[in-house]
């Protein structure tokens, strides 16, 4: 597979991406390296793993990271209740060694996402989502898996991957990741899409939306993201939600009033909602410039007019 072929597959899965994203994905795939994706929240980091699973026709195994996540939740755990029950049932069995051995067999092993991914006969896409939320100990624990594609279970020994999964790690950069982890991965930084790409995404995901509305929404979202007063920038999912909301209300033209009514789908805090009016329509601009120049930016103060 080459870059255009991969890009075509991603297009088919309705993931609009640039050549550099496709190139990085291909490099990671070819080298069998895990791919570490960083970027602001809502740029489509997790989506990459999902569309890669679809493009490569593989199962997606997902591990959501959080503070306190440990190997019993990520890798495996023994089914203690079942083991104890089994001991009590087989109490009078003479061969104690055999009983002990049987207690640490597959029958009593609870497979968690990491073990499931590497024991799968068919290669899968393993998504380790928001790795920055996990503890440093867990990050260190992942090193063996990411470099050797194997994990060690103390009671049974090392488990080698039956097939090499395509591993995608995502991070919002809430804490710096260790050098050791970074070194084992190919790296991709995703940014918010530009207006044209946002338009393509809207058209791909909401094919029935009218062209004029799509342009207006993409422009407005771009302005909100560029504005310094908006603290939580709108994500791509929020753009699509906004379009859906406008469609559901039968709105085909984004005016000051319709934007105000539906802005809650894009911005989720009262401060941002308050600032949005200024950003999009220069409600309390106070810059002293003439803002009656149609749906354009005021070059002097950066405000936007409807």
């Amino acid at each position: 597979m080459d870059i255009p072929a991969l890009q075509k597959k991603l297009d088919e899965a309705k993931y609009i991406c640039s050549g550099d994203v496709a190139a990085t994905l291909l490099v990671a795939l070819r080298l069998g390296r895990p791919l570490l994706i960083e970027g602001p929240a809502g740029v489509g980091k997790t989506e990459i793993a999902k569309v890669m699973a679809s493009a490569l026709d593989r199962e997606l195994v997902r591990l959501q990271c959080y503070e306190g996540l440990d190997e019993s939740k990520a890798l495996y755990e023994w089914n203690y209740q079942k083991q104890l029950l089994s001991i009590q049932v087989q109490m009078d069995r003479r061969d104690a060694d055999e009983l002990t051995r049987s207690l640490f067999s597959d029958e009593y092993l609870l497979e968690r996402p990491l073990l499931r991914a590497i024991r799968s006969e068919k290669p899968v896409v393993l998504l380790i989502d928001e790795i920055d939320k996990s503890d440093e100990e867990f990050e260190a624990f992942l090193l063996e898996l990411l470099s050797e594609m194997q994990v060690t279970i103390p009671e049974t020994g090392a488990v080698k991957a039956s097939s090499i999964p395509f591993v995608v790690l995502t991070s919002n950069r809430t804490r710096p990741l260790g050098e050791a982890l970074r070194r084992r991965c190919a790296y991709l930084y995703l940014q918010y899409p530009d207006i044209d790409k946002e338009m393509s995404i809207i058209k791909a995901k909401r094919p029935n939306v009218n062209e004029h509305l799509a342009v207006q929404v993409a422009q407005a979202i771009h302005d909100l993201r560029q504005s310094e007063t908006i603290l939580k920038k709108p994500s791509i999912a929020e753009t699509l939600d906004w379009v859906s909301a406008l469609e559901a209300l039968g709105i085909s033209d984004l005016t000051k009033e319709t934007a105000r009514q539906t802005m809650g789908f894009v911005l989720k805090s009262s401060e941002d909602l308050e600032a949005a009016g200024d950003v999009l329509y220069g409600e309390s601009c106070g810059c002293g410039h003439d803002h009656d120049h149609g749906h354009e930016h005021c070059g002097a103060c950066g405000h936007h007019q409807a």
């Binding site: 080459d2 870059i3 050549g19 550099d20 190139a23 990085t24 291909l26 490099v27 990671a28 070819r30 080298l31 390296r33 570490l36 960083e38 503070e67 203690y80 209740q81 104890l84 029950l85 009590q88 503890d135 440093e136 100990e137 809430t174 804490r175 050098e179 970074r182 070194r183 991965c185 190919a186 790296y187 991709l188 930084y189 940014q191 310094e228 007063t229 603290l231």
Partner: protein, 422 residues
């Protein structure tokens, strides 16, 4: 193939010299990926190598710079060589001119080599200023050669030092303009505009959350007290049919250090102090049991929680009568040391936020020594960029008396706060 390998090894070495963690594995990966992509497409090669070599956003910027410098066509290389040769010729010419110009009474001026180089590199307008000064002094020089040659040398030195500092500032500008947040993280706090403040406040909140999480994780990992927690052990035992398979222990009690903040709010320090205060107070893990004092010529104790807003902070400083006055660090520290009940003690950390510019430096130095004796630990946060420290005697004096950390940017402030948590 061996030519490619050799080039890649050279490129790896170049990246390594620029601070990227490039090992043999990366070079091997780069080699492997080059065998499967179209080598005639420069952009594809760049993207493929970037994915292999650069492991963070910062490293991507360094990589792109190195790639553009390393992989050039023969014409570009020749043009670059010609340009470098022309520049080298021009510099040699300027050095010769400088040697002739920096003479007093026919003798070369006694100046450090790095300052001579500053003279060579600085703009023609600045050199003109010095030439004009020399011209004006010619008459005086003939009357009293020794006195005026020393005076001219000191003027030259001062001017060149200022230029050197300015050149270093220029070199720092734009080097981290990767994304808006990152740029803000590396920008001098005193240069923040009003429009930056909401974003900076959001960034501070995010960083302090991160630091809090790091600190609580560190504390979680500090083991147990050795005493069994019966309630938890019995509860967990129920999960395994009454067998106490896993024991639970009581956690160690954490003794947090008391923090005493002494913030300089005179003149240019105001914005910086507000940011630092906001930063430190938003770290709940270090802000429990702390006292905050603001000072210029006098000291006032304040409730930092009531001042977590730029406007409230400025209003308070103005109404307290501290604003627009000089800085008397010695007086402030003496008052802090004599205060009863004593804010400083063996379990307290004194955090001084100041640029070390104070009246009566010897008295201030003595007061720092006394504060260090009373407090368990003294940490100085200095908003002057570290590269300027060698030029300022007051900083060198204070840095020799206590631990000093730079925090002219939010990134440096984060690093200093990590130091504070240790």
């Amino acid at each position: 193939m061996s030519v490619y390998l050799e080039k890649l090894a050279e490129f790896s070495a170049m990246l390594r010299s620029q601070g990227l963690a490039v090992g043999t594995q990366e070079t091997a990966d780069a080699c492997e990926i080059l065998t499967v992509i179209d080598l005639s497409d420069r952009e594809t090669v760049r993207l493929a190598l970037q994915a292999v070599y650069a492991k963070s956003r910062e490293e991507q910027a360094v990589f792109q710079h190195c790639f553009d410098g390393f992989f050039v066509s023969a014409e570009q290389r020749d043009a670059l060589r010609r340009k470098q040769e022309a520049e080298a010729r021009e510099m040699a010419q300027r050095r010769r001119e400088a040697e002739q110009e920096m003479q007093v009474n026919g003798q070369p001026m006694d100046l450090r080599e790095d300052l001579q180089e500053v003279y060579v590199q600085m703009g023609e307008d600045k050199r003109d200023q010095l030439r004009q000064m020399l011209e004006k002094m010619k008459g005086n020089l003939q009357r009293s050669p020794k006195l005026y040659s020393n005076f001219i040398r000191s003027v030259f030195m001062r001017f060149l030092l200022e230029q050197q500092m300015a050149m270093e500032d220029d070199a720092a500008v734009g080097s981290e303009e990767l994304d808006p947040d990152m740029a803000l993280l590396y920008r001098d706090i005193s240069q923040f505009k009003d429009a930056d403040i909401p974003r900076a406040a959001a960034l501070i909140a995010a960083i302090s959350r991160q630091l809090d999480a790091e600190l609580s994780r560190k504390r979680q990992g500090q083991g147990h007290s050795g005493k069994l927690d019966f309630r938890r052990t019995i509860r967990r035992g129920l999960e395994t049919g009454g067998s106490f398979y896993r024991l639970s222990y009581r956690k160690k009690r954490q003794k947090k250090r008391r923090l005493v903040l002494l913030c300089d709010v005179s003149g240019s320090m105001l914005q910086f102090s507000e940011f630092v205060l906001r930063f430190i107070k938003s770290m709940t893990e270090v802000s429990e049991s702390s006292q905050t004092f603001l000072f210029s010529e006098e000291v006032r104790e304040v409730d930092a929680f009531a001042l977590q807003n730029m406007d409230a902070f400025r209003d308070h400083v103005r109404s307290s009568g501290l604003f627009g006055r000089g800085t008397d660090l010695g007086g402030a520290l003496e008052e802090l040391c004599q205060r009863r009940p004593a804010p400083l003690g063996p379990s307290s950390t004194l955090l001084i936020l100041s640029d070390t510019k104070t009246i009566d430096l010897p008295r201030a130095a003595q007061a720092v020594v006394e504060a260090r004796r009373q407090a368990g630990r003294v940490l100085w946060l200095n908003p002057i960029p570290q590269r300027k420290w060698p030029y300022m005697a007051s900083i060198q004096t204070m840095a020799s008396l206590c631990q000093m950390a730079p925090c002219s940017t939010l990134e440096e402030l984060t690093r200093s706060c990590r130091k504070l948590m240790k």
